[in-house]
């Protein structure tokens, strides 16, 4: 018999620069339903106090690489919400 599907994925969402300032947080632990995507993690963060100041389609990364909002998340993933980049 196959192992039961995990019902929850726990991820960590990192916030930087202006986004961290707006929420007063640098990271948030989020428990999401199975098959959740970056968009679901973003929705959760945007529902927090100050989160409405994060745009609906920010730059995102998963596990240190740029990722789209439709990227599926797995247990332990590190999601990052990236304000407009200003290096260089």
């Amino acid at each position: 018999m196959p192992a039961p599907t995990t019902q929850i994925v726990n991820v960590r969402v990192l916030l930087f620069a202006s986004y961290a300032d707006r929420l007063g947080l640098e990271s948030v632990r989020v428990a999401l339903p199975a098959l959740a995507t970056v968009a679901d993690a973003l929705d959760h963060v945007r529902s927090l106090p100050g989160g409405e100041q994060i745009p609906p389609r920010p730059l995102c990364a998963v596990n240190l690489a740029h990722a789209g909002l439709d990227t599926r998340l797995a247990e332990g993933d590190e999601v990052a919400l990236l304000p407009p980049l200003a290096g260089g």
Partner: protein, 161 residues
């Protein structure tokens, strides 16, 4: 290799890392801290980064440049507090001839601006402090949508070779 530096960048050291007897063309680029932005006087600034991802993204950009042109590339970006005139980013690209050196150097600075998670906080003479968020200029248009950066960037072709 470490691409982020909390201490001053020495361009000569960076160039020395890519030089070789086979490299007749060496192009370099320095980005230095400007004393003005949007009509306001800037006194100093601070760069912060998502360090682990910034290191990985810089490594990917250098690898892409070295796959696309016959060059060796060195790249460093400052983090922390910088004063006017400080070198914020330095790139050196060495190849057999100038064409590939210039092309690779230009590619690397453009990709750094669009892909590396680094942020800049400017401290103005009037006392204001603001995160710099590139507007809808070239950087903003490409930088505003994750899918474009991650999936459709021209550099993906390079990775796929």
């Amino acid at each position: 290799m470490t691409f982020l530096s909390a201490t001053p960048i020495d361009p000569a050291t960076l160039i020395a890392r890519v030089e070789s007897p086979a490299h007749g063309g060496v192009a370099s680029f320095l980005g230095q801290v400007r004393d003005h932005h949007g009509g306001r006087t800037v006194r100093r600034l601070e760069y912060s980064a998502y360090g682990p991802m910034a290191e990985e993204e810089c490594a990917r950009i250098v690898a892409e440049a070295e796959a696309r042109w016959p060059v060796r590339v060195a790249l460093e970006h400052r983090v922390g507090a910088l004063e006017i005139g400080d070198v914020a980013v330095a790139i050196a690209a060495a190849g057999g001839h100038r064409d590939e050196a210039f092309a690779a150097c230009r590619f690397v600075i453009e990709e750094v601006k669009h892909r590396v998670p680094i942020w800049k906080k400017e401290f103005y003479r009037d006392g204001a402090v603001e995160w710099v968020e590139p507007d809808s200029g070239a950087a903003g248009q490409r930088g505003g949508v994750a899918e474009v950066i991650g999936i459709e960037s021209p550099s993906r072709e390079v990775l796929g070779r």
